[in-house]
Symmetry: D2
Subunit: 337 residues, 4 copies
C-alpha cells in the first residue's frame, strides 16, 4: 500500500501515520519525491484494507497495491477450478448451457421447456421458484411447489437443476431439491446469505450485481470461499448503464478479465444481459467467443404468457437453432458444447 502525503505535512503527522502502519505489523518505508512524500506499507496490506489511513491529517490518498481477495484469485490457485455436478465438469473444455424458464409457473410449462432444451443439448435446467421482483404487484414465484415441478422435470429429462435462493431461511428446502444454488444479482452483496451458502456442500452460481465492479464481485465470491465452499461459478449478467435500448449492458470484457484474475468458471447470461430475446443468440455466440465457460439462457414454451421475463425468453425452436450455431462456433474455438 502506498500512502501519498500532502505537501507541507508536519513531521509529527508523518510519524503518526508510520506508527499506525507499524501497529498492524507492517513496515513503513518513507520516500521523498520532488513534489510529494510517500510511505510504502510493506507486508500484508489486506490488514490495512479499510483504509482509515485516509483519515489521518496530512494524508492525500491511499493507493492499494495488492488485490483485496485471496482464495478466489488466480495467484492463489493458478489452475482452473473444475466443478463436478452429476458427472458434468464445469470449467473444463466443454461449454455448459443451462436453459429453462425464468419462473416456474406449472408442471406443464417446466416440462414444455425442459424436454426441448434437453434435446437441443442443454446440460442443466434452470427455473425460478423464488423470484426477486422489482414490484410487489408482480408474480413472486410458486415457492416449494415450484421446486417440486423442477424435481419432476429432472426425473423426466435427467437434467440437473439450478434454482435461485433469496432468503437464508429457505436454504434447507432449496438445497433438498437443487443441484446448483443460484444467488441472484440483487443478492450479490447479501453478505449473510453468502456466508450461509459458504458453509454448504453445494455448488453455487453467483451472479454479478447490477452495478458491481469486478473487484466487488470477486470479494463476494471470497465471502463464500472463506467459509469453506470453493465450488463457485461466476456469472456476468449485464450491468446498469445509461443505454436504454437494452435492459442492461452485457459486459463481455468481464469474461477475459475474470479468467485472468480468478480460477473460477465464468458463465454469461445473455437473457438478462440484454432483456430482449432477439439479442440472445448474437450475445450468446459472442460470450462463447470471449471465453465463457457456459451460458444461462431463458427458454419458455409460450413467452407471450410468461409470468416474468417473457420479452427475453427464447422459444424452443429458436433455442435449438442457437445450439446448432454454438456447436459450430465452439469447434472453431477448440472447445465443445
Amino acid at each position: 500500500m502506498i500512502v501519498v502525503l500532502k505537501p507541507g505535512i508536519r513531521r509529527d503527522e508523518i510519524q503518526r501515520v508510520v506508527e499506525r502502519i507499524e501497529s498492524f505489523g507492517l513496515r513503513a518505508h518513507l520516500s521523498e519525491g520532488e513534489e510529494r512524500t510517500i510511505i510504502g506499507a510493506i507486508g500484508d496490506e489486506r490488514l490495512l484494507a479499510d483504509q482509515t489511513l485516509e483519515s489521518f491529517p496530512g494524508v492525500e490518498k491511499v493507493l492499494p497495491i495488492l488485490k483485496p481477495y485471496k482464495l478466489v484469485s488466480r495467484e492463489f490457485q493458478p489452475s482452473n477450478t473444475v466443478i463436478q455436478v452429476n458427472g458434468r465438469r464445469i470449467g473444463d473444455k466443454k461449454i455448459h448451457v443451462m436453459a429453462g424458464p425464468c419462473s416456474v409457473e406449472s408442471q406443464e410449462q417446466v416440462l414444455g421447456a425442459a424436454i426441448p432444451v434437453k434435446e437441443a443439448g442443454a446440460t442443466f435446467l434452470r427455473g425460478g421458484a423464488y423470484k426477486p421482483r422489482t414490484s410487489p404487484y408482480s408474480f413472486q414465484g410458486l415457492g416449494p411447489e415450484g421446486l417440486d415441478h423442477l424435481a419432476h422435470a429432472r426425473e423426466v429429462t435427467g437434467l440437473p437443476i439450478i434454482t435461485e435462493v433469496l432468503d437464508p431461511r429457505d436454504l434447507d428446502v432449496v438445497c433438498k431439491y437443487t443441484d446448483v444454488l443460484q444467488i441472484g444479482a440483487r443478492n450479490m452483496q447479501n453478505f449473510k446469505l453468502l456466508t450461509d451458502v459458504g458453509k454448504l456442500d453445494k455448488p453455487v452460481m453467483l451472479k454479478r450485481g447490477l452495478s458491481a465492479t469486478i473487484q466487488e464481485f470477486l470479494l463476494s465470491a471470497e465471502y463464500i470461499a472463506t467459509e469453506g465452499n470453493r465450488r463457485i461459478i461466476l456469472c456476468e449478467r449485464g450491468i446498469r448503464t445509461y443505454e436504454t435500448e437494452t435492459r442492461n449492458t452485457l459486459d463481455l470484457s468481464a469474461v477475459p478479465v475474470l479468467k485472468q484474475l480468478t480460477h473460477l468458471p465464468v458463465f454469461v447470461d445473455p437473457s438478462h444481459g440484454t432483456g430482449r430475446w432477439d439479442l440472445v443468440a448474437p450475445m450468446a455466440l459472442a460470450a462463447v467467443a470471449a471465453g465463457a465457460d457456459g451460458l444461462l439462457i431463458e427458454v419458455h414454451p409460450k413467452p407471450e404468457v410468461a409470468l416474468s421475463d417473457g420479452p427475453q425468453s427464447l422459444k424452443p425452436p429458436k433455442f435449438a437453432a442457437l445450439m446448432e450455431q454454438l456447436k459450430k462456433l465452439a469447434v472453431a474455438l477448440g472447445r465443445e458444447v
Copy 2:
C-alpha cells in the same frame, strides 16, 4: 399503457394482443397513425405491468402511462406523511439530523460521539451493530453487544436510535433495541426483508440502492407499505457513476423529484454520498437547500482509528460547526434544525 405495433403487423396478430389486454379486464383502443398503429390499454394498467405484451409477434414496444407504485405516491396521498418517533415529528417543518458513528465499536466510542452530537443539536443517534462490508476481511460489526452500547447511549443522551438490520432473522433482537430500523442500500431490493419489515409496527428508513432508479426506490418502499407499515423514511445516499473523485455521486435532484412523487419524508446521507469528510458540510447544506427533511451524518470521536468509514466521518467539533451553519440556512429557507 400504449402498445406500439410494428409496421406490417397482421390482423390476426393485432387480434391476439387485443384479446390478451381484454383478458386482464382492460379495454383495448386501436388507433392508426401514418407510420404506426398503436393500441391504448384503458383500465388499471398495473395489471399488465410485467409487460409480456412485448413478447407478442408484431409488437414493437410498450409504453407505460401510469406509475407502477400506488400507496407511496403523492397522488394516492397528497399530504405529507409525518412520522412520530418519541415525540419527534419527521417530515414536518423541522429538519432532523441523525448523527453518530458508522460502526459501533465500544461503549466509550459511542458515547464519545453521542454526547457531542446531542449537544450540537442532533435529534437521533445513528450507529451500526450489523455491518454490510464489501470484504469478508473487514470488521463485520459487534452484533448484539453493539445494540447494548447504543441503548446505553440512548439512556445517557435521550436520543432515539436508528440502526441497520441485515438479516430477517435478526429483526426481533434489533427491534427490541432500536427506535427506527434502517435498511441499507445493498438491501434495498432484498424483498424478503422488505416484506418482513412491512409487517412491523416500527418506523423504517429505506436507503436508495447504489444503482437504483427513483422508480425502483419507490417500488421498494411500496413493498413495505403493501404489508401495512406506512412509516417509511426515504434516504438518498449517492449513486454509482463513472466519477472517482467521490465514493458515490450524491444525486440531490432526487430530493425534489421524490418530494413530488411521494408523500414520504426524504433524507440525505452526505457521508456515504461523498465518502469524504471534507465534502460532508457543503453537501449537507446543499441537501437542505434542495428540500431534504433530514440528514444522516457520520460522526466519530477518532476517525483515524475507526473500524469503518473513517475517511467520511466528521469529528465532533466539525459537526458542531456544521450544525451552526445548518441552523442559519434553515431559517433562510423557512424551516428549522
Copy 3:
C-alpha cells in the same frame, strides 16, 4: 407521439395543447382513460421532436412513438449499405480488419506496423496524424507529416488508409491523403464537422461517443446523411461506465441492435473498447460473433515506446495469431475474414 396529461387538467389547457399539435399539421386524438387522459398526435411527429409540449401547463409527459432519425434507418432502406473503397466491399460477407498504430510517429514505425498487418490479412491501414489527447502535455500528432508517412505506407503495401480528422479546417488536406475519414468518439457530436463531412464524396467512419446512446449515435450519422454523404460506417468503441478494470466498457450488444435499426455497416474497436492489449483478441472474436462487419485494431511494432495508447496495442505477431483465429471463427459463422 403520445401526450400524457395530468389528472385535473382544465379543458382550456387541453385545448391549447391540441391547437399546438394541429399548428404543426398533425391531428390530435383525445383518449380518456380511468386515471389519465392522453392525446395522440397523428402525423409526422418528427415535426414535434423538440418536445416543447412538455412545457404546457397540465402536460405530464410526452412519449415519442417513432424513431427520430430517418435516412439511416432500416425502415427507410431495408437492404444493407455496402460501401466500396478501392475494390473492397464494406458491409458485405467479408469482415474487414483495419489495423495499424494509434499515432503515426515516423515512417519507420508506420511501415513496421503496415507491412506485417498486410501480411496477416488486414485490408486497411489505420493511423492517426491528428490526435485528440486528454492532456495538453501529451503528443498531439505529426499533422501533415504523418499523412505523408501513411501515404508512403499505402504505396508500399497497397492498403487503403483510414485516418482521423479533428478540425473542419483540416478536411481538405486530410481528404487529399485518406481513403476513409474517421470521426472520433470525442467529435461524434461536433455537428459542424459532421455537416462538413456530409458534403464530401468520401467514406466516413463515425465512432460512438463515450457516453452516447445508440439513438444519439444514429442521429449523428443522420447529420452526415442529410447533407448527401451516405457512405457511413459506424464503430462501437466502448462506453463509459463505473467499471475500472477496463478503460471503457465495450458494448457489444450495440452491434446486433444497430444491425436491426440501421442499414449501415457496423465495426468494433476492441483496442479503445478495452484499453488493454491482452483483452483485444477475445473481444475481437466476440465482436465478430456478435455480427460486426469489421474491426479496428491498434498494432504497434514497439508498444513500450509508443507515443500514445501503447498499453492497448498488439505487437505484429500477436495480431497475426489473432487473424488466424478470426479466419476460423468467420467460417463457422458463414462469413470470411
Copy 4:
C-alpha cells in the same frame, strides 16, 4: 509515479523499465515488498503521463501520484482567480446569475427575457445563436442574426452577454459581440477549439462534458490556460447516469471538489443539469449552498413555444421568485447575490 511489477518478473525486464524511466530524466527507486516489487519514479512524472510503462513486460499497473494538470491547480495558485468583466467580479463574494433563453429566436423574445432577468437581479444575459442540437431536424440557431439580437439586448439592459461558440471559424464574429465565450459540454474535448480560445483575450466559460471526469474537465481547462488565457470559468451542468427522471444527474459534489482542486470560479447550470423547470429552483439553491460562484439559468418568456429547451426554462415571474430566495440564502451563507 509508482510502477507495480508482476510477481516473477525477470531482472532484465525490471532493468528495461528502470532505463525507460531514467530516459525521461526521472530517478527510479526500487522497493521490494512481500508480494510485489514496485518502482517509484521520482521527478516530474507528468513526463511519463502517457503511461506506456504499462506496455512493458512484467508491469502489472502504473499508479500516478501527482495531478496531471498544473496551471489550473490550487497548488500552482493558492488564491482564487477573480475574473473581471465590465466591472463585475466573478469568483469573488458575489454570486453571479447569468440568465436568458436557451436559443435566441427573435429580438422580441430576447428582450422579453433580458428585461425581466435584469430587473430580478441577474448580472449577465445568456442566449445561444449557434446551437449544438442532437438531431439535424432541430432548430440550429439564428447565427449572426442572433448575435445582433443579443447585442441589442445588451444595449437596452446593460447586461454583458455570454454566448456559445461551436466552430473555430466562428470565433472572430462571436468575439466581436460577446463579453464571455461559452464552450458547451459537447465541445469540452474539442481540443482545437480549446487551443484557439486559449489564444484570445476573452473570458471563457467551459462546461463539463456529459461524461467527463473532474480530472478530464480540469485538463480541458489546462488546454486553454497553457495557451495563455487564464480567465476561465468552470460550469457543472449535469452528467450522464442511468437515472431517467432527470435529463442529467447534476453532480453538485463537483462544486466543493473543484473548489479544492482549482483556483478557477465554479458555476452550476441547474437548467441543463435537470432538464425540468420545476427542479431548477431547488437545485439552484442547493448549488449555492454547495459553494458555487454563480449560476446559469434558462429563462424564456413563453417556454411552450420555445424552439429549444422549453421544458427546462423558467418563466420570468418564477425566475424573480427564485432570485428572492437566493438572496436570502446567500446572506445566510455569508455571500451575496
